[in-house]
C-alpha cells in the first residue's frame, strides 16, 4: 500500500489572551492511497483543525505533515497553494462559496485558476458533476438563490472539479436531508472506488459506515481507530457496518 498522507506528532495551539490552547496534541496518522477515512468526535475536539492542518491550509505549531513524500513545513506558500489547488479537494463545514460568483462559476473557479485545462472540457465536467449530485437545475443561479443543502452540494462539486487525489470534507452532509445525504455519500463512494482518497469529518454513523477506517478524536487527541475494511457492496454491507460502528462508539463514550 502506498502512503499518500502522514502526520507525525502534529500539534496545533492557539494563543487566546496569552493563554495557550492545545487544540491538536501530537497527532500521528498515516493515510494510504485509496483509503476512506472518517473522523468522528465531540464538538470542539479538533476535527476541523486536523483537516486544515493536514491539508496545509493552516500552519501547524509543531510536528510534520508529509503529503506524497513532501514535507509541508518545508514548502513555500506558493507550492502549498498549488498542492491544494491541483491535488486536494476541500469541502468546508461553513460551505464558503464565493458570493460574487454564480453557482456554476464557483464550481469551475478552481479549474480556471489551475489554468492549463481546456475550458470547454471543464464546463462539461462541471455539468456532469452537478447532474450526478442533483443540482444541475441551479447552474445559472446566484448563490443567494439556493438553499443551504444545495450550496453544500455545489461546494462538493467545486472540490471535485480538479479531480483531486485526496478529498477532505468537513461535515459534507450536515445540512442535508437523508435523501440528499445518501446521494452525496454515493458520489464519495464512487470517486473513492475510482481511486481518490477521502478524508471526511462527520457526526453521522451512517455516513461514517461508508469508510474503510474511522478515527475518533477527543480534546485534540486521537483516542481510537476502527478499521471497517473496504466497502464492496453498498446495499448489503452498510447495515452491518453501522451496527459494528455504533457499538464501538458507545464503548468510547460517544
Amino acid at each position: 500500500m502506498r502512503e499518500i498522507l502522514k502526520a507525525e506528532n502534529l500539534s496545533k495551539d492557539y494563543l487566546i489572551n496569552k493563554k495557550k490552547f492545545n487544540v491538536l496534541r501530537n497527532i500521528n496518522i498515516s493515510i494510504n492511497v485509496g483509503d476512506f477515512v472518517s473522523v468522528m468526535g465531540p464538538s470542539g475536539s479538533g476535527k476541523s483543525t486536523l483537516l486544515y492542518n493536514v491539508s496545509g491550509m493552516d500552519k501547524m505549531s509543531s510536528g510534520e505533515v508529509v503529503f506524497q513524500g513532501e514535507k509541508l513545513s518545508e514548502l513555500s506558500e506558493k507550492k502549498l497553494s498549488g498542492l491544494r489547488l491541483k491535488k486536494m479537494g476541500f469541502v468546508f463545514q461553513q460551505i464558503n462559496l464565493l458570493n460574487n460568483l454564480g453557482i456554476l462559476d464557483n464550481i469551475i473557479f478552481p479549474a480556471q485558476m489551475e489554468g492549463s485545462q481546456d475550458r470547454k472540457k471543464v464546463k462539461q465536467r462541471a455539468v456532469a458533476l452537478m447532474k450526478k449530485i442533483g443540482i444541475i437545475e441551479l447552474a445559472e443561479n446566484e448563490i443567494t438563490q439556493a438553499s443551504g443543502g444545495q450550496l453544500q452540494r455545489a461546494a462538493i462539486c467545486r472540490a471535485l472539479i480538479n479531480e483531486p487525489e485526496i478529498l477532505f470534507a468537513d461535515e459534507p452532509t450536515g445540512a442535508l436531508n437523508s435523501k440528499s445525504a445518501k446521494e452525496v455519500m454515493d458520489v464519495f463512494h464512487t470517486i473513492n472506488k475510482e481511486g481518490t482518497t477521502v478524508m471526511i469529518v462527520t457526526h453521522d454513523i451512517r455516513v461514517a459506515s461508508h469508510s474503510s477506517r474511522v478515527i475518533f478524536m477527543k480534546d485534540g487527541n486521537i483516542i481510537g481507530e476502527k478499521v471497517l475494511g473496504e466497502l464492496k457492496d453498498l446495499d448489503i454491507e452498510l447495515k452491518d457496518r453501522e451496527g459494528k460502528l455504533s457499538k464501538w462508539l458507545l464503548d468510547l463514550g460517544f
Binding site: S81, L101, L104, P110
Partner: protein, 776 residues
C-alpha cells in the same frame, strides 16, 4: 446595537474616514485662501490706483511736445479733470548696469528714467507712499527686485561712451501703470537734478501725456476726441481698463487655480464619503435590516450616521479655516508685493469664513442625499440574504463559464469592476480628474513653448526681428539698414514693415485711431483665423480684436482716412494679435513715414543668429534687435516659467492624490473582501493570482479614466486656454500636443504609480488566513 455599528464603522474605515477629514480640511483651507486672494486683489488694486491717482488715459509720444497747446485743449475739453505731461528718458538695457551687471542686453522692455510726477500718476514705494528721491539715489521697479534679488543699497550705473552716472538704490517702485511683467515698459525714479543732468547725455526723451477724467466711464468718447485733436500721438495710447486687467491677471489666475484645486479636493472628499457610506450599507445591510425589523425607524438610523458625517464636515472645515488664519499672508505675498495692502475690509474677514463653510454645507447636503438609501433596505430581504445582491449587470451574461479567452484572474478583475462599479466610481472619477490635472498644464506649456505660438502673438516667424521706434532721422536709418541687409550674403530674406497710425470710421460713424502695418505681406506672414493677407491696394486685414470691435468681417468694407481722404477698403482676412493691446490692421499701402510709429524688419538667416545679432547691434544704433526665441523668452518667459512650475506641481499633486486614493481604496476594498480572499486562498488560489485580480481592477479603471480624462482635457483645455488668452486678443488657440508626453509618458507615469501603489496596498493579502473566513 447602534453604537456597535458606529464603532465598527469607524474602526474598520478609520484610515479613509481620516482621509475624508483631511480632504475637507485642505479644501476649506484653500477655499478660504483663494477667496481671500480674490477679494484682497480687488481691494488692493483699487487702493493702489487711488493712492497713485492713476491716469485714465495715457498717450506715449516720442518727439517734442507743445505744452501750451495741450493745456489749452485740455481746458476746453469738459471731460478732462487733470492733465499732466511727464518727461521720460528712455535708455537701452545695454547701457544700464545693476550691481555691475548689464541690466538686459536685448531687452523688449522699454526702460525709462523719470522724476516723480507733480499732480497725479504717482510712483509709490512698497508702503504705498509717494516716492521722493535725493540726488544720487534711485528707485527701481519691483520687477527687477524680483529678477535680481535686489536690496536697498545696491547700485545702478548708467553709462555710454561719454557719460556715466552712479546711483544707490533707495527703494522700489510700485508703479500702478507698469507693474505687471506683461507690460513692456518700466519706470526708474531719480532726483530732478540728476534727471536734468542725464537729459541729452544718454538715451532719448519720450513723453507721457496723461489725463484724468471727470467721469472714467466716458473713456471711449475721450479717446476719440483726443485722436482727432491733432495733439502729439507718436506712440501707443493706453487706458485704465488695460491697467486694471493686467494688474489683476496673474494673481487672479492663481486665485482661480487655488479655488479650482479646492473644489477638486472637495469632490474627492465627497467621493470618499460616498464610498464609505456605500460600504457601510453593504456591510451593515443585515444589521440595519434587523434594526428596522425590530421597529427602529429608518430616519433614526440615518440620523446616527448623519451626525457622524456632520461632525467630520464641521471639524474639517473649522480646522481648515484655523490653519488658513496664520497662513493667510502666504497666499497674499505676491499681491501685497506688487499691489500693496489696502486697509482691511469687513468682507476680507468674512468672505473666507463663508466660502469655507460652504464646503461643510456641500458635504452635509451630499451625505443627506446618499444616506437616503437607508430607506430602501427591506428588513426581510436583509435578514434572509445578508448581502446586497443588486448589480447593474446581469451576472450570468458576464460569467466565468463563458470566458473562453481571457486569463481567469484578469477576467475576474474586469468582472468585479463591472459588477460593483458603484464602489469603483471613486477611483474612476479621481483618475479622470488627475489625468485632467496633468494633461491640461502639460498641453498649455507645450503650446506656449512651441515656435508656432508666436503666430498667435501677431508676429511672423523669422530668425531676427528688428524694432525701430521713432527718433530723429529714423527714416534714413531704416533705409540704411535695409540696404545693408540687402547686401549681406548671410541674409536669406528680409521683410520691412512700417506701422503708422491711421484713422478709421468705426461702427458709430466716429473716427478712431488704428495702427496699420504696411508692407509686402507675401513673405513673413502671420496665421490667419479666416481669409488671407491683403494683396491689392484696397484690401485690409484686421486683427481679431479690431474686427470684433469694428464689427467687420471678411468681405465687409471699412473706411480709412488716408491723406485726408476717405478710402473704402475690403476686409480680406482676420488674424490674431496679442501685441500692443491686440488692436491692429495690415494693409498693402505705401508707407506713411509722416505718421509712422514703429518700423520692423524681419530677417531669415543662413548663418549663426547670435553672431549676427552682435554684429547688427554694433552697427545700428537705437534699434532693438531680438531673436525670436529671445523675444518669446522675454515676453512669455515669466509665463512659461510659472507654467513650468505649475506643471511640475500639478504632476506631483496628481501623483500624490493617485497614490493616496488608490492605496486608501484598495486597503478598504481588501478589508471588505477579506472573507472572499480567504476562501480563494484556502482552496488553493495563489497570492500572485489574487494580486493579478486586484491589479487588473485598478488598471482597468485607470485606463478607462485616462482615456476619458485625456479627451476632456483636450477639449476643455483648449477652451480654457482660449478664454484666458482672449483677454489679450487671441480668440482661437490650437492646443499643440506633444504626443510623447501627453499620450505616452503621462499615462505611463500614472500606470506606474497605480501599479506600484496597488502592489504596496494589497500586500496584506499575504496575511489573510482561514480565520478571516469566519468573520463573515
Amino acid at each position: 446595537m447602534i453604537l456597535k455599528i458606529l464603532k465598527h464603522d469607524l474602526l474598520k474605515k478609520k484610515i479613509i474616514t481620516f482621509a475624508v477629514f483631511i480632504f475637507i480640511m485642505l479644501s476649506a483651507f484653500l477655499m478660504a485662501g483663494g477667496s481671500n486672494m480674490l477679494i484682497t486683489l480687488n481691494d488692493s488694486v483699487d487702493y493702489l490706483f487711488e493712492k497713485a491717482l492713476l491716469p485714465h488715459f495715457v498717450q506715449y509720444h516720442s518727439g517734442s511736445i507743445d505744452q501750451v497747446m495741450i493745456q489749452n485743449w485740455s481746458q476746453r475739453n469738459e471731460n478732462v479733470k487733470r492733465q499732466q505731461n511727464s518727461e521720460m528718458i528712455n535708455i537701452p538695457g545695454s547701457k544700464i548696469f545693476i550691481n555691475s551687471q548689464q541690466a538686459e542686453v536685448d531687452t523688449v522692455m522699454d526702460l525709462s528714467f523719470v522724476r516723480q510726477n507733480e499732480s497725479f500718476d504717482f510712483l509709490l514705494n512698497l508702503n504705498n507712499q509717494i516716492i521722493s528721491i535725493d540726488q544720487g539715489e534711485i528707485a527701481v521697479p519691483i520687477y527687477y527686485r524680483q529678477r535680481r534679488n535686489l536690496v536697498p543699497g545696491d547700485n545702478v550705473v548708467i553709462k555710454n561712451e561719454q557719460f556715466e552716472m552712479n546711483f544707490i538704490i533707495k527703494e522700489f517702485v510700485r508703479d500702478a501703470q507698469m507693474n505687471p511683467s506683461v507690460i513692456s515698459s518700466k519706470r526708474f525714479v531719480v532726483n530732478n537734478t540728476d534727471f536734468e543732468k542725464m537729459k541729452n547725455q544718454i538715451g532719448k526723451t519720450e513723453y507721457l501725456i496723461s489725463f484724468q477724467l471727470n467721469d472714467p466711464a466716458r473713456i471711449s468718447e475721450f479717446t476719440n476726441q483726443y485722436s482727432q485733436s491733432g495733439l502729439p500721438q507718436k506712440g501707443p495710447a493706453v487706458d485704465y481698463k488695460i491697467f486694471k486687467l493686467f494688474n489683476s491677471l496673474t494673481d487672479g489666475l492663481i486665485a482661480a487655480v487655488v479655488i479650482l484645486i479646492s473644489l477638486l479636493l472637495n469632490i474627492i472628499a465627497l467621493l470618499c464619503l460616498r464610498f464609505i457610506i456605500l460600504l457601510t450599507i453593504e456591510e451593515d445591510y443585515k444589521e440595519i435590516g434587523v434594526m428596522k425589523g425590530i421597529g427602529i425607524a429608518a430616519s433614526d438610523i440615518r440620523k446616527i450616521y448623519l451626525s457622524k458625517y456632520i461632525f467630520i464636515a464641521l471639524t474639517g472645515t473649522i480646522g481648515g479655516f484655523l490653519i488658513y488664519l496664520p497662513a493667510r499672508k502666504l497666499f497674499l505675498k505676491n499681491i501685497i508685493l506688487f499691489t500693496g495692502e489696502a486697509p482691511k475690509s469687513i468682507l476680507q474677514l468674512i468672505l473666507p469664513l463663508l466660502t469655507a463653510l460652504t464646503i461643510a454645507a456641500v458635504v452635509i447636503v451630499f451625505s443627506i442625499i446618499i444616506l437616503r438609501r437607508f430607506n430602501k433596505i427591506s428588513p426581510v430581504e436583509a435578514i434572509r440574504l445578508g448581502i446586497n445582491a443588486k448589480s447593474y449587470f446581469n451576472k450570468n451574461s458576464f460569467s466565468l463559464s463563458k470566458n473562453n479567452f481571457l486569463n481567469a484572474n484578469v477576467f475576474l478583475g474586469l468582472r468585479d469592476v463591472l459588477m460593483r462599479f458603484k464602489l469603483f466610481i471613486i477611483l474612476f472619477v479621481v483618475f479622470i480628474l488627475t489625468t485632467f490635472i496633468i494633461i491640461v498644464p502639460l498641453n498649455f506649456l507645450n503650446t506656449i513653448k512651441s515656435s508656432e505660438f508666436v503666430r498667435y502673438m501677431g508676429i511672423a516667424e523669422s530668425d531676427i526681428i528688428m524694432d525701430l521706434r521713432y527718433t530723429e532721422g529714423i527714416q534714413d536709418r531704416f533705409e540704411q539698414i535695409k540696404t545693408y541687409l540687402a547686401n549681406d550674403p548671410d541674409v536669406l530674406e528680409q521683410g520691412a514693415f512700417v506701422t503708422s497710425r491711421y484713422r478709421i470710421i468705426n461702427q458709430e460713424g466716429l473716427v478712431e485711431n488704428i495702427y496699420i502695418q504696411t508692407g509686402d505681406f507675401s513673405k513673413f506672414n502671420v496665421d490667419y483665423l479666416a481669409g488671407q493677407s491683403p494683396a491689392q491696394a484696397n484690401e485690409i486685414a484686421l486683427s481679431y480684436l479690431s474686427s470684433s470691435e469694428l464689427n467687420k468681417n471678411i468681405g465687409d468694407k471699412v473706411q480709412i482716412i488716408i491723406e485726408e481722404e476717405r478710402r473704402e477698403m475690403i476686409v480680406t482676412g482676420i488674424y490674431q494679435d496679442i501685441t500692443n493691446g491686440g488692436r491692429s490692421a495690415k494693409a498693402n499701402l505705401p508707407a506713411d513715414y509722416q505718421n509712422a510709429s514703429w518700423y520692423n524688419i524681419y530677417i531669415n538667416l543662413n548663418s549663426d543668429i547670435a553672431e549676427k545679432i552682435n554684429e547688427y547691434e554694433a552697427l545700428f544704433d537705437n534699434t532693438k534687435i531680438i531673436d525670436q526665441e529671445g523675444y518669446l523668452a522675454q515676453t512669455l518667459g515669466d509665463t512659461i516659467e510659472q507654467l513650468n512650475i505649475l506643471t511640475i506641481a500639478a504632476i506631483i499633486i496628481a501623483g500624490v492624490v493617485i497614490f493616496l486614493i488608490t492605496s486608501l481604496f484598495l486597503k478598504t476594498l481588501i478589508a471588505r473582501d477579506k472573507a472572499q480572499i480567504a476562501i480563494m486562498k484556502s482552496i488553493g488560489t495563489s497570492i500572485e493570482a489574487i494580486k493579478i485580480q486586484y491589479i487588473t481592477k485598478a488598471l482597468f479603471v485607470l485606463i478607462f479614466a485616462i482615456f476619458i480624462g485625456t479627451i476632456t482635457a483636450n477639449i476643455l483645455g483648449e477652451q480654457l486656454l482660449t478664454i484666458i488668452l482672449s483677454f489679450l486678443g487671441a480668440s482661437r488657440i490650437e492646443i499643440i500636443i506633444n504626443p510623447i508626453r501627453s499620450y505616452l509618458l503621462s499615462p505611463l507615469i500614472m500606470i506606474l504609480i497605480v501599479v506600484s501603489t496597488t502592489l504596496l496596498s494589497i500586500n496584506s493579502i499575504k496575511k489573510i488566513s482561514l480565520a478571516d473566513i469566519k468573520v463573515e
